[in-house]
């Protein structure tokens, strides 16, 4: 596969697809720089979800009538699209959940807590994980007596790979790592991490919440055992998430939710579960969400994930250069844009991130401030909070310029 070239997309044409980007905030042009929290939605996705409700709303998998056939076809079609998007071998390796968080919980509960993990088994994470890839593993520690260990990060925001090697032993049963940090933007060498995990007989769980929206993903090349991501960060609706798993591992994982849809037969006191992936989809699923996600996948595929990545490298490079020129502004994470995504955490001397975000808000600029659900990482860098700008396909260099002008305004206020 050719390396993504740093070429900007036709942003005005893309922006025209996003109704929300036509509005103003506090009488200013909306400059949305918080896609790492949630992305905006193109009208194609919005229309697809409303189309489901207005034209063929019916429950999936059970209805005998035409509407139900249509809804099932579209829902399962979305599963096919998601499978192709991440190069899965089959749509049967794709479980729909409500979020990355739920996906990781399914693995921690069904494979860890109810499955393979025994007292003393080790689960190896990293200090740069989002809370959603920390807390589910705490449950496994608390209920099964698993031992949790963590790989630290270098000051430049990359993982300490030599420490990873030292911590990885035949006691390690699960390695769990984010493909891309939601604070530092670091893209971790997951292919290498998974390879070394497999050498000691551990499985590798990948949090792709920040990666799937922004770069090409090939689960077969990564050799990931489980991989989780969310629809809402990749132009799709909220409330729909994905868990990819290798078929034998999904078989070995117990379901988190019991109920309708996930069963083959139910008797008083016992039940037989449905096949993978349906055994994980108890209850009526988020049908409109899945269909919307399928259309988001279409949208991204039309642009091309290499092109998405190339665009974001260019915007991120420009932002890092501009911010480096501002006195009193620090950025975090790798400087090399081939090793990082378009997530730029920054601090300004003398200004608390909350004040930064408030002042930028008055300029119509949306950035996040706080600990970004990564408190262990913030402690590692001894930071109570940072401000964070994150980019996507609808951001151009003008948005970065607006951010830079806003930062200068913050500095004026706190001069």
């Amino acid at each position: 596969m050719a390396k993504p070239a740093k070429v900007l997309l036709n942003v005005p044409a893309i922006k025209a697809d996003f109704p929300i980007l036509q509005r103003t905030v506090r009488d200013k042009r909306l400059v949305y720089l918080d896609s790492a929290a949630t992305s905006q939605k193109p009208k194609q996705v919005i229309d697809a979800t409303s189309d489901f409700y207005s034209r063929y709303n019916a429950n999936v998998h059970r209805a005998i009538y035409e509407l139900g056939e249509e809804s099932t076809r579209e829902y399962e079609g979305a599963r096919e699209k998601v499978a192709a998007f991440i190069q899965a071998k089959s749509a049967m390796e794709i479980v729909f959940t409500k979020s990355t968080t739920e996906s990781i919980n399914v693995v921690a509960y069904g494979y860890g807590l109810k499955g393979k993990i025994e007292k003393g088994d080790e689960i190896l994470g990293t200090v740069m994980e989002h809370h959603s890839n920390h807390v589910p593993w705490h449950f496994v520690k608390d209920h099964k007596g698993a031992v949790l260990k963590y790989v630290d990060v270098n000051d430049d925001g990359t993982l300490k790979m030599e420490q990873y090697d030292a911590l990885l032993t035949n006691r390690t049963k699960i390695v769990t790592v984010t493909l891309c940090s939601n604070v530092l933007g670091t893209i971790n060498p997951v292919k290498e991490i998974a390879k070394r995990a497999h050498e000691v007989g551990a499985i590798c769980v990948v949090d792709a919440a920040q990666a799937a929206p922004h770069m090409p993903i090939d689960v077969q090349s990564l050799d990931a055992d489980f991989l989780a991501f969310s629809g809402h960060k990749m132009l799709g609706p909220t409330g729909i998430g994905v868990l990819y798993g290798k078929p034998d591992l999904l078989e070995a994982t117990e379901p988190l939710l019991g109920g309708g849809e996930m069963i083959r037969e139910v008797h008083l006191g016992w039940a037989k579960w449905n096949d993978v992936p349906y055994k994980f989809e108890g209850g009526t699923p988020n049908i409109a969400g899945a269909i919307g996600l399928g259309v988001a996948v279409d949208y991204l595929t039309t642009i091309g994930m290499d092109a998405v990545r190339g665009h974001e490298m260019e915007v991120t490079e420009y932002a890092l250069e501009k911010l480096a020129r501002l006195k009193g502004v620090q950025t975090y994470g790798p400087r090399d844009v081939t090793k990082r995504a378009g997530v730029v955490s920054f601090t300004i001397d003398g200004a608390h991130p909350h004040d930064i975000a408030s002042i930028l808000d008055v300029e119509g600029i949306c950035v996040r401030s706080g600990h970004h659900c990564a408190q262990p990482l913030m402690e590692r860098f001894n930071l109570p909070a940072t401000a964070r700008a994150s980019f996507y396909v609808y951001n151009d260099l003008d948005d970065v310029d607006a951010l830079v002008a806003g930062i200068k305004k913050v500095q004026e206020v706190f001069a």
Partner: protein, 149 residues
Amino acid sequence: MPDLRELYQDTILDHSKRPRNFREIADASATAVGHNPLCGDRVTVYLRLDDGTIADVSFVGQGCAISKASASLMTDAVKGKSKSEAHGLFERFHKMVTARPGDPVDTSLGKLAVLSGVCEFPVRVKCASLAWHTLEAALERKQETVSLE
């Protein structure tokens, strides 16, 4: 449109950069810790009570300009007040920062009125009230950390 100069006016910036009573009290009769997990702000309030009157009050901690300025202004405002006077002040202060923009500001709040602009920024109300909630806990001698979620 909310005015930034209203939120970050000179008095607020002055109190955030040079907070008053920013120190520990060695012989404090009560202390309490306040924490806003959303932004990582932490404040510890120290009290020396003399016959039900706040003889001395101070704070230490880290936080945004609004939370620091509010803590600083609070310590100035409640020094020499009785417990119930301090409580009454907090009630009126809270009413002011959660008022509808444009509502008349309670003139009895004195210098605290500089924070009235916070009502234009609802997400910042917790910043402005963290020190006050912590003061309340210290007055009631609650030991646990006050957490504003």
